[in-house]
Symmetry: C2
């Protein structure tokens, strides 16, 4: 039985792989699990049928028989529990990899989301640049720590894991800001994630949603 995930019918990122379904697609591709996708309009996200799956009215969700999950972190954790390839078998290495999943989502992502919101909601405010600089400072504080820890390692803790899936895609949310590029090892780390065949299959699948809906558009590639 193939699990069913949800994604935006019209993703605001136009197929750049920045929406959170990309995290789940990548994880599923890493473990070789085929899946179906149900595309949702912004209106459908707020309707009771979808709220029953995700109380916060967002994507992605994950359905597998009677099991319904939301939260990209929770979904990827479940996929990693069911299949080999995303979390180490050794209990201590597994605990460290799970810690990196939480670090990506609770330490690195929040200031990055805050920076996006600054751009989306404050660009017309007189205080936009002052506040943006404050938030950029918070992002750089965290990325500096992450860069120091990563050093010249390929992945966050030994082998590639679910922590890397989340961290690479969280860092990709900074695309276009130039901030990741200030840390050469982080830029290389993101590129290393993007080069994985499973990443590329996931990226192509989510980009196809945009090109299918916009047949005259150029092929979507990483900008």
């Amino acid at each position: 039985m193939k699990p069913v995930i949800t994604a935006f019918a019209a993703s605001p990122d136009k197929g750049q792989g920045l929406a959170r379904d990309m995290r789940v697609r990548w994880a599923l591709e890493e473990v070789g699990q085929p899946y179906d996708v149900r595309l949702l309009s912004f209106k459908a996200l707020k309707e009771p049928a979808h709220r029953a799956l995700n109380p916060f009215g967002s994507i992605p969700t994950y359905e597998e028989g009677d099991l319904a999950l939301f939260e990209s972190g929770g979904i990827i954790h479940h996929i990693a529990e069911q299949h080999a390839g995303l979390l180490p078998k050794d209990a201590e290495a597994r605990a460290r990899a799970v810690t990196w999943m939480f670090a990506a989502l609770n330490t690195i992502e929040p200031p990055i989301v805050e920076l996006e919101q600054t751009r989306f909601f404050e660009e017309d405010k007189s205080w936009y640049h002052e506040h943006q600089a404050m938030v950029e400072g918070r992002v750089r504080d965290r990325l500096g720590c992450l860069s120091n820890r990563l050093g010249d390692a390929d992945w966050l803790d030994g082998s590639f894991s679910a922590g890397d899936v989340l961290m690479v895609l969280v860092l990709r949310r900074l695309d276009g800001t130039g901030i990741v590029e200030e840390y050469q090892n982080l830029a290389d780390y993101v590129a290393r994630g993007e080069a994985r065949p499973a990443y590329q299959r996931a990226f192509a699948a989510q980009a196809a949603v945009f090109t299918d809906a916009n047949p005259g558009s150029d092929k979507v590639t990483r900008q």
Copy 2:
């Protein structure tokens, strides 16, 4: 062998249980696992010895033999893997409970932290009230969804779980704002968590750090 966690020697919340070591203490008390605490000055947090344990220079950390973890979510997940009482045994119920751990930390906590930062860093700005209202709107959006989902249930998904440990303490970060009290079922939910004997033991242990360091102070109780 007792695990060792770290906490602030002088917590900015003066023993109100809002620092993240409270999450780990509560989880350890729920499963009946004794622990030791190493208290750290703000200076020590930034030194290489602590950065080796937590690359972001914060508390809590968790040491158990050769295993070193950081991130409250990762630590609690590990405790729940080792001991019964924090995650259901049934695989589907367990996946849903883990999803709530991520929801607490990636959906509910970020706008709450943003609101705290507004108070800490922007109070002297001309735009403080305008920006604060925007962030409060984000917090209320998320809490409204959470309140609708919780309904009249005691806990987020069936029995009490690690997701509730994190969610109750994330909501407690709003203490003093009056926002949780706008949702009666969420206020009751927080009170239900605080009434658990394990919560109370954890609260007393972290409050004692403050009263021990400030012998003339009043006993710390929930404000």
